[in-house]
C-alpha cells in the first residue's frame, strides 16, 4: 500500500543576497535549504523532523504543503504529484493538508474574531453554511476549549498563548484534514503551558488517526508525540529511525549533541561539554564531504573527501556518518 506522502530527492534552492562585489562579478550565491531528502509518511504515522534554524526543516514543511515550489525531486500526496496538481485537486489538497504555526500570537488575523477565523477555512473549502456552527463547535471541543461561548467572539489579543495555539489547532482541524504539519508548535509557549498542548497532540493522534509531521528543534516534543524521527543538518538528513532508538542510541554526533544539549528539570543533570562546537555552517557554501566536519570532534580525513551516505546501521535506523559506514565496510 502506498504511503500517504512519498518524497524522493526533495530539494529547494534559493538565490541568496549578494554583496556588491559578488554581484558585479556575476557570482551567484545559491542557498541549498533542502538538498536531497527522501521521505515516506504512512497513513496515521506521527513523524518528527528535528534540526536547528538553518537546517532546512521549515522549508521541508512548506514543500510538503505546497506553499513553495520544489527545485528538484518528486513529491506526491495520495499518489498525485504536488507540482502537477490542477486547480481542483489543489483545492482539495488544501482541505486535506493543514498547518499549525509556530507563533500563536500572529497566526490569526488580528481583526477577525475567533469564530470568523474558524469559519474561514470552511468557507474556502466550500462547506455548506449550515455545517459551519457544528463543525466549529466540534473543533473547539477537540482542542479542549469547551467554553466556546466565551471564546468565539473574542479577538486574538484577548487570549493567552496557550489558548491561541489551541485555536490555531482547531482551525487546522475544522476542515477534517488527513495530514497535519506542525512547525514548532510549542516553542513560543511557556514551558508550563506546553504540557497541555503536547498532551493534546497525543490525544488527537489516537482519536483522529491523522498523519502528522512535527517540525521542531526540541527533541522533547518529538519524543512525546512521534514514533519516528528524522534529524536534519544543513539541508540533509543525518539520522532517522524510531524516536525511541534515535534518542536512546543516537548514532550521529549531531544527534548526540542535540540530546545532550537539552536542559532537563533535574538538578543532577550532566553538565559536560557538548561534542559539537561552533555555529551552524553556511547553507550557501556547505563543506565538501560531510557538512558537519568542522564542528565534529570525531572528524577524520575521509570526512572531508566523501559525503557520508545515509545507511542502515540497525533495523529501521539509519545514519549518515563515516564512523558507522566504516564499521560496516
Amino acid at each position: 500500500m502506498a504511503a500517504l506522502i512519498e518524497a524522493f530527492g526533495l530539494a529547494k534552492h534559493y538565490l541568496a543576497a549578494r554583496n556588491l562585489r559578488q554581484a558585479l562579478r556575476g557570482e551567484r550565491r545559491v542557498v541549498r535549504a533542502v538538498d536531497g531528502i527522501d521521505l515516506l509518511l504512512e497513513k496515521g504515522e506521527s513523524v518528527g523532523l528535528v534540526g536547528e534554524s538553518g537546517s532546512g526543516k521549515t522549508t521541508v514543511g512548506r514543500l510538503l504543503l505546497k506553499l513553495t515550489p520544489l527545485s528538484a525531486g518528486q513529491l506526491s500526496f495520495e499518489g498525485d504529484f504536488l507540482d502537477r496538481m490542477d486547480r481542483a485537486r489543489t483545492q482539495r489538497f488544501r482541505q486535506q493538508a493543514q498547518l499549525v504555526f509556530q507563533n500563536p500570537f500572529d497566526a490569526l488575523n488580528p481583526r477577525f474574531s475567533i469564530r470568523r477565523s474558524l469559519a474561514e477555512p470552511l468557507r474556502n473549502t466550500g462547506v455548506d453554511r449550515a455545517e459551519h456552527e457544528p463543525r466549529i463547535a466540534e473543533a473547539l471541543r477537540l482542542v479542549k476549549l469547551d467554553d466556546a461561548k466565551r471564546h468565539l467572539e473574542a479577538l486574538p489579543h484577548q487570549l493567552s498563548g496557550g489558548q491561541l495555539q489551541r485555536v490555531v489547532l482547531a482551525r487546522a482541524l475544522v476542515v477534517k484534514p488527513v495530514f497535519l504539519v506542525a512547525d514548532e508548535p510549542v516553542s513560543m509557549l511557556d514551558v508550563s503551558v506546553r504540557a497541555g498542548i503536547l498532551n493534546l497532540f497525543r490525544d488527537l493522534k489516537e482519536r483522529l488517526s491523522l498523519t502528522a509531521f512535527y517540525i521542531s528543534h526540541d527533541l522533547t516534543l518529538v519524543r512525546y508525540v512521534c514514533e519516528r524521527t528524522l534529524v536534519m543538518y544543513l539541508g540533509k538528513v543525518v539520522e532517522d529511525g524510531s524516536t525511541a532508538e534515535v534518542i536512546r542510541r543516537p548514532a550521529h554526533p549531531y544527534t548526540q549533541a542535540l540530546i545532550k544539549a537539552v536542559p532537563r528539570p533535574d538538578v543532577d543533570q550532566p553538565r559536560e561539554s557538548l561534542p559539537i562546537t561552533g555555529a551552524i555552517g553556511d547553507a550557501a557554501n556547505p563543506l565538501s564531504g560531510c557538512r558537519l566536519r568542522d564542528r565534529c570532534p570525531y572528524a577524520f580525513a575521509h570526512c572531508a573527501e566523501v559525503e557520508p551516505p545515509l545507511v542502515e546501521i540497525a533495523p529501521g535506523h539509519r545514519a549518515a556518518c563515516h564512523l558507522h559506514t566504516k564499521a560496516i565496510t
Partner: protein, 350 residues
Amino acid sequence: MAELLTVLSNPPLKVRGSLLKVEDLAVAYRVDGINVHAVEGIDFAMQAGATLGLVGESGCGKTTLARALMGVLPTNARITRGKVWLDGVDLAALPEAERRAKLWRDLSFVPQTAMNALDPVYRLRDQMREVLCKRGGLWRSAADARAAELFSAVGLDPSRLMDYPHQFSGGMRQRAAIAMALALKPRLIIADEPVTALDVIVQRQVLDTIRGLSTDLGLSAIIVTHDISVVAYLCSIVAVMYAGRIVEFGPIDKVMREPAHPYTMGLMNASPDLERAGEDLVPIEGSPPSMVEPPPGCRFAERCPFALPACGEAQPPTMDVATDHRAACIRIDEVSDLRAQAREASTWRH
C-alpha cells in the same frame, strides 16, 4: 564550593553580607486609568556569587521585578512599596543621580531582546567602545583590550569585534550582548529570558557561558525564565513566582527535589523531560488570576488541587520548610504528604 545562602524569614535577618536584599517590594502599572498590581510582597536576599533563578509563567511579574531592580521600569509603572538594598546601601535613600549612577555601575541588565538591540550600523568594537569609553571612562586602547577580554570570556573570538551584528548568528549576538553587559564590571547581572529565542545547541552554549562566568569570575546573576529546566541547569538558588508573588524560595536542589509549594510541584510535573518521555505530562489546569483585582487569599488557590476554604481568605504567610527553604502555603506541615499526592497525575485533573 559551598555557597552561602541568606534567605529572609520572619523576623528579617541582618543586611550585612547580602549583595542584594529586597523587602516587601511592590510594583504597579497604570493602564487606561486602571492600576495593575504586577508585583507584591517580594522579600528575598542573595549573596555575592550566587545565581538566582526567577521562574514563573508569562504574566507572573518576573520581568517587572527584574526591571524594577534595575531601575528601568516603563513610564507607566512605579514601585509602590518596599526597599531594595544593594551592597548594604538603601537605594531609595540615595538622591536620584547617585542612585542612577550606582545602579548603572553595579547592576547590568540583559533584556529579553538583547540580541536584537545591537545597533546594526556599528561594528561590535565601536559599540563596546561606546560603553567602555563614554560610561566607563577608559581610553580607547584600554577599551579595546577590555573588549577583547570580554569577548573571550563569553566564548567569542576577539577578532570578531570588527564585525557587524548581522554577521553574527543569534546565539553569538546574545553572547555579545552579555559581553557588553559585563563591560563595566557589574556586581550583578540580570538576564531576562537569555536563551528563549535560541536553538537548543546554541542555547546550551550560552548557558555554559553564563555558568562559566559564574564559576570563573564569581559573577552574581539573576536569570529570569519560564523554563525550570534552565534554572535547574544554571542556578544555585531559585525563586518561584506566581501572580506577582514569590511562592517558593530556596536552594535549587532542595526546591526541585522537595518542592514545598503546590505550584512548584505542578511546574515539575508539567516540564518535559527527555529521559522520562514515556510518562504523560501533567499540565496545571486553568490560568493565572487577573492582576487588576487579585483575589484576597492565596492566588494559586483556584488552580490548586490541595486548596482549602481557608486558602481563599487571606494571603498565606511565608513559612520555613527547612533552614533556607521557604514557601507561602498554609499546608506546609503536610508537605511530604502533598508532595506524594502531587506525583499522581489524577491529583491534577479536577
